[in-house]
């Protein structure tokens, strides 16, 4: 192969393909409340780990829902499970248990 000094850059577009969200469907079975998320971002704004890292539960939920999570998933390692997000969530989602379930069924 020839090196031209430049190459193809991967597309930034997320291609959402049905069936690739199998894990998300499993997550919905374990955590039906995840479907209630309206992406308000309260969780991310109050996040203790978010002060140090990229941790952002709102983004994570969306990425999982879209079935495109490889980039976002590592952030779940940063969570200290302190539970602040649990308190601020206006839809009463049990965010801590949700995070633990994500840690259970997804693989990095």
């Amino acid at each position: 192969m020839v090196n031209f000094g430049y190459g193809l850059t991967p597309s930034s577009a997320v291609k959402i393909i049905e069936g690739e969200d199998k894990l998300y469907r499993k997550l919905c079975e374990m955590e039906p409340d995840v479907k209630k998320c309206m992406a308000c971002g309260s969780c991310a704004a109050s996040c203790t780990a978010g002060d140090f890292t990229e941790m952002n539960l709102r983004k994570l939920i969306l990425s999982l829902q879209r079935g495109y999570y490889q980039q976002a998933l590592p952030m779940v390692k940063n969570c200290m499970l302190c539970g602040k997000c649990n308190i601020v969530c206006p839809r009463g989602i049990n965010t801590r248990h949700l995070i633990m379930s994500i840690q259970k069924i997804y693989n990095l």
Binding site: N78, M80, I87, R96, L108
Partner: protein, 655 residues
Amino acid sequence: MMHERVFGSFDLFVLPFLVGMVFVLLFCLFGLLRILYQLSREERLKFYASLLNPANIIKNLKDIFFDCLIHVKLWRRNPLLGYMHSSIAFGWFMLIVLGHLETWFYIPERMELIYYPIFFRYFMQVSGTTVGGALFFFLMDFFLLVVLSGIGLAVFKRFRSRALGMKRTTRLTLLDYVALYSLWLIFPLRWIAEGFTAGVAGGSFMTVPINMLLSSFMKNPENITIAWWAYSMALSIFMFSLPFTRYMHIPTEILLIPMRNAGLKVRRHNKGYALAQLYSCPSCGVCIDACPMGLHRRSADATVYMVRQFKRANQARSLEIAEKCLMCQKCSSLCPISIDATELRLAFRSRQKYNILPDFQYLKRYLALSAEDDSAYAQAQNGQTEENSSGNPVMAVVSSIGSKVKSIGQKIMSLGSSSKEQQENIGSEKVLYYAGCMTSLTPVVRESVEKLLKASGVEWSNMDSGRSICCGRPLFLSGKMEQARQLVEANSEIIHNSGASILLVSCAICYRMFKEKYSLEGVRVMHYTEYFNELIKEGRLKVKRSALKYVYHDPCDLGRGCGIYEEPREAIERAGHLVKAGKERKESICCGGSVGSLALSYEERVHITEHSLENLTVNAPDCIVTACPLCLTTYAKQSEIKVEDFAQVLVENLK
């Protein structure tokens, strides 16, 4: 005056009892070996060593006597309930002991037959005319009466449990019912059997009248054997069902008590010491009423059911029960057996498999930055450089925290050495204040604490006014011990670097974590209720007494968790009138917001909070006071009356 009535000291009817007894003994032996095998080497050695320690032996015997036979804890809870349990347990125990004494007294060569003391009346004819004989007859009948009265109460409790202080009782399994009814039958049958025999073998005030009554219409001597058969059968059924029912607690508790006194801890939820705990649960159901989750409906998640599911190894239900619990510890503090319900749940939680585990390596960078900043700070102090250590805004934020911590550290170091020795009052010690994650959602707590610190003129600094690290308790409660340890390490470093000698904590959850899981040498961890109460006593903080009526809620981790009940009350008493809650101290009801529960839904929590508030407001207080930010937010959302933080109350009543 005495002779053996039955030739060969044997009758076929003893067989059911004998087989049952042998079965139980073998089962217990096997179970004992299994539990011992499951212990780790160190645990086993620790256990054996404790069995040789004379002080321990005495304690074990004392505990066994008071807990297993007398059921002191139940007496304290409800005398009738206590009497019911101790009458059956102690009465039966005495019947067995007396049976053996009688055998030993009259015919010691028969002691080797297991069944003989049990069916002594059948085999032996003893004259009641001697003092000894009359005494035995009397005592046997007396304790039979005691047991029968207990059984009567037990039957009564089946229908009216409230009369014995229990709103709800345990849902029993089919086998439990078999065992229960056979247990109930044992003593009336014994009464009848001994009554039949009383004519020839003698008896006392219980058995003789029965004999008269029976012989008035039943002449056939065959009836005697039938009655003894029935008695033996009832015993046998009870023995055979015992290992598979709650009655297994009778033998297991005798093992549990020395194990606990040896200082063993729960490691796996169903192995070793934990298994002894599981089998010691009598399914009495005290935990059902205790559990705040079961207030509005019959809870299937109480500890008694957890024990049952753990024993059955039902993974799905076990997980559900283990994850739902608020870890408020009310059940274990009321449990007559003191089963470590939270420890068992925690052990189960920690066995969960995760593909992705948290990792807080990133905190190292944060700590390194703080340290780096320390040296920059030192340089600045020496006038070598005026510049900030870095132009990076993130670094700047970190450094502001770092330098603050460091500066206090240095000041404390300079003062510390001279004054530390003769320090008598805590007011002159240097304080590092840790507010915790939850407090950032209740800024009034931090604000009030800072006001109090300023008012009392102590030297203090903030550990987490910028960004902060969680104390680790939520991780610990979710079973992620190793990850919690990482946070403990990070926080410990920050605390030690500060040089403070008191770590002041306003969050009950954090406080318990710092108390139990941190080893902060040279630093005294104090909850702000302790600390400010002390300052008031020392006269550094002056509060006036308002006319308001306060009720104090004991946060689970502070009260049951760390045993702090008096300090907050003392302080509040000085600021106003303290009224009582419906249930308080050890029996206080969790606010429902606990981080201990992993799976409880918001809707379920709302019900718990509602009930908890009802309990707090029975004496019409003007204000609910709590000493935990999580209780504060939880109550504030639902309470109709004012909810305030402990520090807030003091600030409002500062002189």
